[in-house]
């Protein structure tokens, strides 16, 4: 998978890779492993999704505390 195809699939399927066909998700992960441009695009689409859809992550303060304790 190249960056152009990755971008097209991101737009079509969204950034949650578990909703992608498995072979395409694996190809996307291979690209993400090697391409910072793909990582940046992935982050952009993720941010856009978060702006459009509510994040169901709930209260993340316990996680923030856990990070602080482990520095």
């Amino acid at each position: 998978m190249d960056l152009k195809l990755f971008e097209a699939r991101l737009k079509a399927l969204g950034a949650a890779l578990d909703r992608w066909p498995e072979d395409e998700a694996e190809a996307a992960l291979d690209l993400l492993t090697t391409s910072e441009a793909a990582q940046d695009l992935f982050a952009q689409v993720t941010a856009q999704d978060m702006g459009v859809f509510d994040d169901a992550g709930g209260d993340l303060s316990p996680l923030a505390d856990r990070i602080a304790r482990n520095l």
Binding site: L17, L32, A43, L63, I67, L71
Partner: protein, 221 residues
């Protein structure tokens, strides 16, 4: 320096007018409060990035934690040439991918252990049926022994021998030091060797042909 147009008040109400980059530069001097502000600003996005890769909330939160800790550890090497958020997001994606690989490796332990047994018996090179039988029995024994290892030892061995990750990458994936990874590998190998030798005494087969990897074998562990 690149300045980010960030929300000054973060998710948990921490207020700081400085840019992400200025905050992270402050972290170089050990300012954990500055880092906490960065966590405040970016945790939800980092968690979502990891969730998009992993599809599992608990694993995503562990990956997010690893990403922030990796960023903290790398603070002295960071140069403010790019946005902090871009750099952090790349770390998060890589941590999540590492975790996904670990997760994939664990259910395939049967194949993994067979490969380990193959590697361990290669020196004997006995091609006859008895050797094959012994090898398969060793594989089963090895699988059982690996399954009884502490999680951290099993994870380190799996990543090193079967995912073929470098020690540094394993350290990043597991959120510990390279020295700790080497220690886990050494203890894991020793435990496996001991259990296989015990099995040999009980069953009278195997591990003349099973040799532990010499210290320093592999890729630097």
């Amino acid at each position: 320096m690149a300045n980010s147009a960030m929300t000054v008040t973060g998710e948990f109400g921490l207020v700081d007018a400085r840019s992400d980059e200025d905050l992270f530069l402050a972290c170089r001097d050990g300012d954990q409060v500055a880092f906490r502000v960065l966590v405040d600003r970016h945790l939800r996005m980092v968690r979502r990035l990891a969730l998009n890769v992993l599809g599992d909330v608990q694993e995503a939160e562990d990956a997010a934690q690893e990403a922030f800790i990796a960023a903290w550890r790398a603070r002295e090497r960071w140069t403010p040439e790019a946005r902090f958020s871009t750099w952090l997001h790349r770390i998060a994606v890589n941590k999540a991918i590492d975790r996904r690989r670990v997760r994939k490796a664990v259910p395939e332990s049967q194949e993994v252990i067979t490969r380990l047994a193959d590697a361990e018996v290669r020196g004997a090179a006995q091609a006859d049926a008895l050797a094959n039988l012994e090898r398969s029995e060793v594989a089963v024994t090895l699988q059982q022994a690996l399954g009884k290892l502490p999680d951290t030892q099993r994870q380190a061995l799996t990543l090193f021998y079967f995912e073929e990750l470098e020690v540094g990458r394993i350290a990043d994936a597991m959120g510990c030091s390279e020295q700790a990874v080497r220690s886990l590998l050494k203890r894991g190998r020793q435990t496996l060797k001991t259990r296989l030798q015990r099995q040999k005494k009980i069953c009278g087969y195997g591990p003349e042909t099973v040799r532990s990897a010499p210290e320093g074998a592999g890729r630097g562990a």
